[in-house]
Amino acid sequence: MRFYPYETRRVLPERENTLRHSGRRIEQLKETLANRLGTVEYLRCIFRWPHLHPMRLDPIQDIEVVNGQFHSIGDNPQFILHSTVGRPPAGWVEISYLAWSSKRWMPPTLFVDTGNGFSGEQAIPLICPVRVEAIFIKRNNGSTPTDSTATPTADVRLHFLVCLPNHVRALRLDPLSSQGSFVLQALSFKELGAVGVVLAMLRRHLKSVWRQPWLLRRVAHDAWQTLRTEGVFGLRRYFLPQGQTDAEAYEQWVRIYDTLTDGDRSAIRQLLCAYRISHS
């Protein structure tokens, strides 16, 4: 095809406009498609059929495994979690694991990577379980697992309700923030649809109302006040407290200001000795 100069001057701007228009149209289509896919993904997460993800724990830092027992050998032990299903869980999930109730350790924190790596912004402390199941295990010698001197054995199953982002690349679990042995077994994430979340919510609140019917009035009043002042998101926070900002802040406060080290203990003992000497 051959253009004469005067035709070139006329056609080129037209083609340029056409291309620019097409480019804009493609961008709009991409945006619309992303929105629709986001909506579909969102709806899929809400109305998801319950799906269990048994999780494999992969120690990556400060953790030793001796005879099947986990030992933290540093201040920042970490596990990477791998779903045996083949993809990370997403959306509302019920996390459950076996633990040893008599062993006091800081609540584990779940870190979520949505593509930008693990960070404190995507950290979920597992503090308030929605359900605690006691499991009774008798040892060979007949002792109960609560003996502090005995080998740690799981005696409770803890359940947490957590809302994960819809796109999860990887999950990390930091079980505690100090040295010591701990029990963490049979970790699983169960993806819940809307029905599952509602059932979990009802199970959590109706149980206490059933035992103490007068609580119903208070729950209804508090829920109404929360809805009025904070809207639907406040209501969600009220029924499914998972922001846990206050709890997280207090846990941090306890860790910094109200947890004694061996050095603190020996200093206190020295001070007490000084008191005795000055009084005698």
Binding site: E251, D264, R265, I268
Partner: protein
């Protein structure tokens, strides 16, 4: 410490929290308020065995928290008392901090402290950070500042029976 049908685990934890105090010049006075649960008496006997500074009295009739606290108080020989409920736990430096304050301010008759709640899993939450002494703005009677684990001076044996059953009922409803 008044005790009534406490679960074995919680009672063990309460007693263990006193035993593990860094300050060791204490006596634990326990009043069993006619518990019907069999494990309570066995556990209290176990706690008392070989520990001269753990004293236990068994009430024949149920007197609720006030009378049970008075029964426990009757066993006390120290200058200061700390109220501890049968489901409470002390941090290991709780008595030490009280002793520090009493040594710094020997004239005080009441020491109160912050408190929080603890889950069965040992997680501390819902802290109650109490304000400084402010009898005008927030009279101590209007808030539960000094119920536990507040320490108070015991001036004389004659004034030991000051807890009233009505106080107990009011407190329980809070």
């Amino acid at each position: 410490m008044p005790v009534y049908d406490t679960s074995e685990e919680l009672l063990r934890k309460a007693i263990a929290s006193v035993r593990s105090q860094l300050y060791d010049n204490w006596e634990l006075c326990i009043a069993d308020d006619a518990s019907t649960a069999q494990h309570v008496k066995a556990l209290l006997a176990e706690a008392r065995a070989g520990a001269a500074h753990i004293k236990v009295t068994y009430r024949e009739t149920k007197g609720h928290i006030s009378l049970a606290s008075n029964s426990a108080l009757a066993l006390a020989t120290g200058e200061y008392v700390v109220l501890l409920d049968h489901e409470d736990e002390l941090t290991e430096h709780a008595l030490y901090l009280v002793v520090v304050e009493l040594n710094a301010h020997p004239h005080v008759v009441l020491v109160y402290s912050d408190e929080d709640k603890i889950t069965e899993y040992g997680v501390r939450h819902e802290p109650y950070f109490k304000p400084d002494w402010n009898p005008v703005g927030e009279p101590l009677g209007s808030l539960s500042h000094h119920h536990r684990p507040g320490s108070r001076r015991v001036p004389s044996k004659e004034r030991l029976d000051r807890w009233d059953v009505r106080d107990c009922i009011r407190t329980s409803r809070l």
